[in-house]
């Protein structure tokens, strides 16, 4: 397969993921509205919003890093997504997963966050670093259960190669990590709450405290790039979780169904809970979820696991 074919495939894959991610966002808004007893905006509202923000005639930039911030953010999202094989056995959706393994994906997540943090930092607005400080701190906290879960998975399948992790989970839902190593999945699913930054972990944007935090100075096209990334990045995270814990997907329908439910999990939790204070949030992740993560490793190492 020539590199250009791969690029073409990647473009398709990215487009699908972006559209899917944005649609999910719309669905969530609709869902929230229904929970509130409202009619809510249309499902395609995110697309309208993106067009609206892209179509601003004027923008304000605080400097080169401010300019690059959203770019790096989107590059991070793209990278994260592109290093994950999305659909098991599909050449179209295998992306560039031959460049690296699970560790590469985990660390590429930081690429965008760091870029965004830098861009927002140059904005000069005090709320940006406040939000970033919260976000980084929370990230360091939820990384603990997540990394423990990932280590447990790596031990379980003796690999960090996402494709082979998915391959090992094929052959019936009882082979999913969800059932072979439930503790790791619990730890990871708690940490995805933090990753998605829905309530009770919505301390970064926190509109009532630090009006939307980091991107407060982002406007016009900058904002629209961030919005695009939000869709893509959400999809990437969900696909990663699906691959690691829920047996991956062999076709696009399976992927959509699985990721939808993974997403709904955090959405429902978010709809049901109020927001933590920052230190409560950090402490939360460092306590029980981390402990569950340790248990999962012990379970896999010393008790032999279910496999």
């Amino acid at each position: 397969m020539s590199i250009w074919t791969k690029v073409l495939y990647a473009v398709v894959s990215v487009s699908v993921a972006t559209v899917y991610g944005l649609t999910l966002g719309g669905i969530v808004r609709k869902l929230y509205a229904r929970v509130h007893g409202r009619f809510g905006p249309p499902v395609w509202q995110p697309f309208l919003d993106i067009i609206q923000t892209y179509s601003r005639r004027v923008a304000v930039s605080h400097g080169n890093m401010f300019f690059l911030g959203p770019v790096l953010r989107l590059a991070g999202g793209l990278g994260t997504y592109l290093f994950i094989p999305v659909i098991f056995g599909s050449a179209l959706f295998s992306n560039f997963s031959m460049a690296g393994d699970l560790l590469l994906v985990m660390y590429f997540v930081f690429f965008g966050q760091l870029g965004m943090a830098l861009g927002a930092g140059q904005g000069g607005h005090p709320y940006s670093p406040l939000g970033i400080a919260r976000g980084l701190a929370q990230m360091s906290a939820f990384e603990v259960p997540f990394s423990l879960a990932v280590i447990a998975v790596a031990i379980q399948y003796n690999s960090l190669n996402i494709t082979s992790i998915v391959a090992a989970q094929q052959g019936g839902f009882m082979h999913w990590t969800l059932f072979t190593n439930p503790l790791a999945v619990i730890a990871a699913m708690i940490s995805i709450l933090g990753m998605n930054m829905h309530a009770p972990f919505s301390i970064v944007m926190a509109p009532q405290e630090i009006p939307i935090g980091p991107p407060i100075e982002m406007n016009g096209s900058f904002l629209s790039i961030l919005q695009t990334n939000r869709g893509l990045f959400a999809a990437a995270k969900l696909v990663l979780f699906m691959n690691l814990f829920f047996g991956g997907a062999t076709n696009i329908i399976e992927m959509i169904v699985k990721t939808f439910f993974i997403y709904m999990f955090s959405v429902f939790v978010g709809a049901a809970y109020p927001r933590f204070r920052p230190e409560q949030s950090f402490r939360f992740f460092l306590k029980w979820p981390a402990f569950i993560g340790v248990l999962s490793i012990i379970y896999i190492t010393y008790l032999g696991g279910a496999s």
């Binding site: 605080h62 400080a133 980084l136």
Partner: protein, 1040 residues
């Protein structure tokens, strides 16, 4: 060939006649006085030359025409000559020092002084016990009288206390002599044998030896001596501390053959106790001369202990130890006492006046280093051999006490040194022009210390010139210090290059080469940043070269001693470099204390290690050495101190932060790697010979906890350099943990990270140095928004922090990938989890660093600031280029590291094209880099096309709740940025380890203070101590 008895004859005759001669004028009497002293010295030097180089036989001089035992005989052998050379030389130079005093005071003082020196000669040479008593009394009486040369209330009362103690001791000595005669029928040492003292005879021997021992000021029966040291004129005190002590110590040495084992053990123990306690009590002391007194007493204790405990050792080693301690104490103590006479400041803080006189300051430093047992001075070799002897004879308590005592001593000496260098001296009275005699005497002694050191290195150890190169380099640059800084900088660069060219062929293995690149090439690039220094910049390049050369010497050292020597040179030079920082007093002291504690551990560890059989570099031959468990543990801890592992990392943030901006990069990027190198060596020896206890498993844990604690602490710093320091600690924690795995992948990853760390931490420190150079602050919240003023520095920091954090596509990710893979392969899962946590936390401090300095609001005072000078930018971009190349082609580094590790293990990774494949996963750095560039380009172009009309605005054009910001200071978020995180962590964020060490420090000071309360100042109490001490020792020895 003049008989040494003429020393006595001439001195006596001159002494008797001086008062008559003096009637002809003081100049004549002084001429006679100095003439006789000089004659004595010359005579003894002549004899020493004969003994040492012509191997003359021992000379025995009979008196009155009869041979012993009928008449009194004198003996002059090599040992006596050795002692006498130094005592006479000290006597002569102390007299030179006292020249002005002698000019002004009565002729009596000349007579007393001359006869004092004479009596020491007699005391050392005579073989008759009663004659010893007589000479001892001459010595005592002349000393008593000389204490009043400056007549103050304190010196009188101290002299009286001295007399009380001395008279009690002399009564015992006399009793001992008489009873010895009673039991043996002889007074001549040649005719008295140990077996003649059976039963009650031992009491006689006890009295005799005890009297001598009391004169040697054992703890706690030594209060009188301290008072004398404190109050009497410096010149005379130097005589008391050096000449008297040497003579009496020699008497003790002479009595050793008579003593039974029980005596020896108790005396040795008493010596060690004295050493330990007097140094501990010295901790609280603020009076310079009394402090020296404590040190003197301690050293006499050490000398006694070394005399006793080395009896079983080979004689050359024994002489090196005893002689080393003796010369070291003598030279350094005399020099320091003389300096105290020149400085005329009671409180050690007052010594800051030395700063105004460069020569004196250097002398002071030389003496302090000599006294603390640093190479190349004699005390270093003595200590090294002594530790070896103690370990061979399994005297671990003694070892512990000696090393702890030495550490205490080091603490107060270096506190003194650092205060002297750093305390503000403007409030103090300047030193009145010291008279040239004093300075001359002191300088000669510093020179003497150096000459002795060179002699030991040349004749005893037969070192090559490379081993002495660090010290020589410092010396040479010191002599060239008048040159402008830039010139010296370029010359240093050339010297480092030449040195690199020289040792390149000596680096036989890739491992050596790897560290050679870190040490030499890394240093060379770092030197560029120092070229920015202006003026003469005295001292700097000497120390720098010393440090770099000692790094290199570590690699080619072929014995434990050579390695340790280079290690100590490294410690000295880095200490001095740190000390140059503006407020580095505490930092450099901490560094010194921890380094020395580490060095003592290394010394112990090497002494436990079996002998080397190979002559190749230690780094290679260590592979075939089976280190015993204790050695592994002790060495590992010693090296981990240098690597800043948690628990012993206290020095690290202080030293990094307080050192000069361009020195910090050396410390962080290169010095820490020396610790890594050491640990690696221990690990190498453990591959084939795994210790019985899983030492490295626990080191692994320490490593990961270091990584985590370092990251946490870094997040809570306000000071940019402290932040980077903790970051270094964290990163080296990763390296240590990875090393501790002792697997192929572990080592590849450790070395890979070590190399990367060298590059990005150098770049970061130099960038911060540039920022500091422009802003004159290290507090991050005082900066902000500098990206617009210093874009080049910003770029460095940006690239570096991406590399540090391990975010792809830069080379830092390679390290992370290797490390996690290695950990999971090894089965250290929880450790890997902790490392993940640490690496996530590292984003906190990295973002803080770049945000608080470069992003956010630009301060008013920095509006017109310029980019850092080119000298700072050039090395940064060399390192950045290195990072980028390694990011693009990580295999350039991984391939050689793979081969290094393959020397010890089977390879666990394979390299397929540009992809590195491990058992668990794979990584193609090159491809990742390309993809990253592509996916960066796409949104970038999109944004360029769709951005609309973009207006660049200024820093206050922000949405500020419909208001406008008041000032940049109140708008910039930087201070206490992670307050919420600190709150979440609660007690875990408190500096427990620092509190622990503070507690240790406080307790040892309090204990020292408690013990020194025995010295009530009352002469009677001192006598009581002596009597009780005698009784106690009597009981302990169990003399029947």
């Amino acid at each position: 060939m003049v008989s040494p008895i003429y020393i006595l004859i001439l001195s006596l005759a001159a002494g008797f006649l001086l008062s008559i001669i003096d009637r002809g004028g003081r100049k004549i009497s002084l001429a006679v006085f100095y003439g006789v002293l000089a004659f004595n010295t010359a005579l003894i030097i002549d004899w020493t030359y004969r003994f040492v180089f012509l191997h003359a036989p021992t000379l025995v001089i009979n008196t009155a025409g009869f041979s012993a035992p009928v008449s009194i005989n004198l003996e002059l052998g090599m040992i006596q000559a050795f002692v006498l050379v130094f005592t006479n030389l000290t006597g002569l130079l102390a007299a030179v020092f006292l020249f002005r005093k002698f000019m002004e005071s009565k002729v009596s003082s000349l007579i007393l002084y001359l006869l004092l020196v004479m009596s020491v000669n007699g005391l050392v040479m005579t073989r008759d016990l009663f004659n010893m008593f007589v000479f001892l009394e001459i010595l005592s009486i002349s000393t008593y009288a000389l204490t009043t040369i400056t007549r103050t209330k304190t010196s009188l009362s101290a002299g009286f206390k001295y007399m009380m103690a001395g008279s009690v001791a002399s009564i015992f000595f006399l009793m001992g002599v008489v009873f010895v005669y009673h039991f043996t029928g002889n007074l001549n040492l040649d005719f008295i044998h140990a077996d003649q003292f059976a039963g009650t005879g031992l009491v006689a021997l006890f009295m005799l030896t005890m009297a001598v021992f009391i004169e040697l000021k054992p703890f706690p029966a030594n209060g009188w001596a301290l008072d004398v040291y404190q109050s009497v004129d410096s010149g005379i005190v130097s005589v008391i501390a050096v000449i008297n002590s040497a003579a009496i110590g020699f008497v003790f040495y002479r009595l050793i053959p008579l003593m039974p084992q029980s005596f020896l053990t108790v005396f040795g123990a008493a010596g060690v106790i004295t050493f330990f306690f007097s140094n501990m009590m010295g901790l609280k002391q603020k009076n310079a001369k009394r402090l020296l007194g404590y040190s003197s007493i301690g050293h006499m204790g050490l000398l006694m202990a070394s005399i006793v405990f080395t009896i079983g050792a080979p004689s050359t080693v024994r002489y090196l130890i005893i002689g080393g301690f003796f010369v070291n104490h003598l030279v350094a103590k005399a020099g320091l006492f003389w300096l105290s006479g020149i400085v005329r400041q009671e409180n050690i803080r007052g010594w800051a006046v030395l700063k105004n006189n460069r020569l004196l300051l250097v002398l002071f430093g030389v003496f302090i280093f000599a006294l603390s047992g640093f190479p190349p001075f004699a005390g270093f070799w003595a200590k090294w051999e002594f530790v070896k002897v103690l370990i061979e004879s399994r005297m671990f308590f003694v070892l512990g006490a000696v090393l702890t005592g030495s550490l205490f001593e080091l603490i107060f000496l270096f506190r003194w040194l650092t205060i002297t260098v750093k305390e503000d001296e403007t409030q103090l009275e300047k030193i009145t022009t010291p008279d040239s005699g004093s300075v001359f005497a002191t300088s000669v002694f510093a020179l003497l210390a150096t000459v002795v050191a060179a002699g030991v290195m040349k004749y005893f150890y037969n070192f090559g010139w490379v081993q002495t190169l660090p010290a020589a380099a410092a010396l040479i640059v010191y002599l060239l210090d008048f040159l402008p800084s830039k010139l010296k900088g370029f010359v240093s660069l050339g010297a480092v290059a030449a040195y690199g060219y020289y040792i390149y062929p000596l680096l036989e293995s890739n491992l050596q080469l790897f560290f050679g690149v870190i040490f030499i090439v890394g240093s060379a690039i770092n030197i560029i940043s120092t070229l920015n220094r202006k003026n003469q910049n005295r001292g700097f390049y000497g120390f720098l070269l010393m440090m770099i050369f000692s790094f290199g010497n570590l690699l080619i050292a072929s014995t434990y001693l050579e390695f340790f020597l280079s290690w100590e040179f490294m410690t000295i030079s880095s200490f001095l470099l740190i000390l140059r920082g503006q407020k580095a007093q505490r930092a450099s002291l901490l560094y010194m204390i921890f380094s020395t504690a580490g060095a003592y551990l290394l010394m112990t560890g090497f002494s436990f290690a079996p002998a080397l059989t190979s002559t190749s570099a230690l780094m290679l031959s260590i592979e075939f050495v089976k280190l015993p468990l204790i050695s592994v543990i002790v060495l590992a801890i010693g090296f981990m101190i240098k690597a800043g592992s948690v628990g012993v990392h206290i020095w690290l943030p202080e030293a990094h932060a307080e050192a000069e901006a361009d020195v910090s990069s050396f410390i962080s990027a290169i010095l820490l790697k020396a610790g890594v190198l050491g640990l690696l060596m221990v690990a190498i020896s453990c591959i084939a010979h795994a210790p019985s206890f899983p030492v490295f498993y626990w080191i692994g844990w320490i490593g990961v906890i270091t990584a985590l604690v370092g990251a946490f602490m870094a997040s809570f710093q306000e000071d940019a350099k402290r932040l980077l320091a903790y970051s270094s600690m964290s990163q080296v924690g990763y390296v240590v943990a990875a090393l501790a795995m002792i697997t192929h992948l572990g080592w590849v990853s450790a070395l890979y990270l070590a190399f990367n760390h060298m590059m990005f931490k150098s770049a970061l420190f130099i960038a911060i140095a540039g920022v500091y150079y422009r802003t004159h602050t290290r507090k991050m919240y005082e900066m902000g928004g500098l990206i617009s003023r210093m874009p080049w520095s910003y770029m460095t920091v940006l690239i570096s922090i991406i590399a540090v954090s391990g975010v792809p596509p830069l080379s830092g990710f390679g390290a992370k990938w290797l490390i996690y893979t290695a950990f999971i392969t090894k089965g250290w899962y929880l450790q890997a989890g902790v490392l993940f946590f640490a690496s996530a936390v590292s984003f906190l401090y990295l973002y803080r660093l770049i945000h608080a300095i470069f992003l956010g609001q630009l301060k008013s005072e920095h509006q017109e600031i310029k980019e850092a000078p080119a000298w700072f930018i050039i090395p940064q971009y060399i390192f950045l280029a290195g990072i980028m190349v390694l990011s693009m082609f990580p295999n350039l580094m991984i391939r050689p590291l793979n081969s290094i590790a393959m020397h010890y293990f089977n390879s666990s990774i394979s390299i397929e094209g540009l992809t590195v494949v491990s058992d668990l996963g794979y990584w193609n750095g090159n491809f990742v880099m390309h993809i990253t560039m592509a996916i960066f380009a796409v949104p970038f172009v999109v944004l360029l096309l769709l951005r609309g009309k973009t207006q660049r605005v200024k820093q206050f054009n922000i949405v500020y709740a419909a208001e406008r910001p008041e000032s940049p200071e109140t708008t910039h978020v930087a201070y206490n940025m992670y307050a919420h995180y600190r709150k979440a962590l609660g007690g875990w964020a408190s500096p427990r380890i620092e509190n622990f060490w503070n507690g240790v420090a406080e307790w040892s000071h309090t204990l020292g203070d408690f013990f020194r309360r025995v010295y009530t100042g009352n002469g009677q109490t001192y006598i009581l101590h002596i009597i009780m001490y005698i009784v106690a020792i009597y009981v302990v020895m169990g003399v029947k």
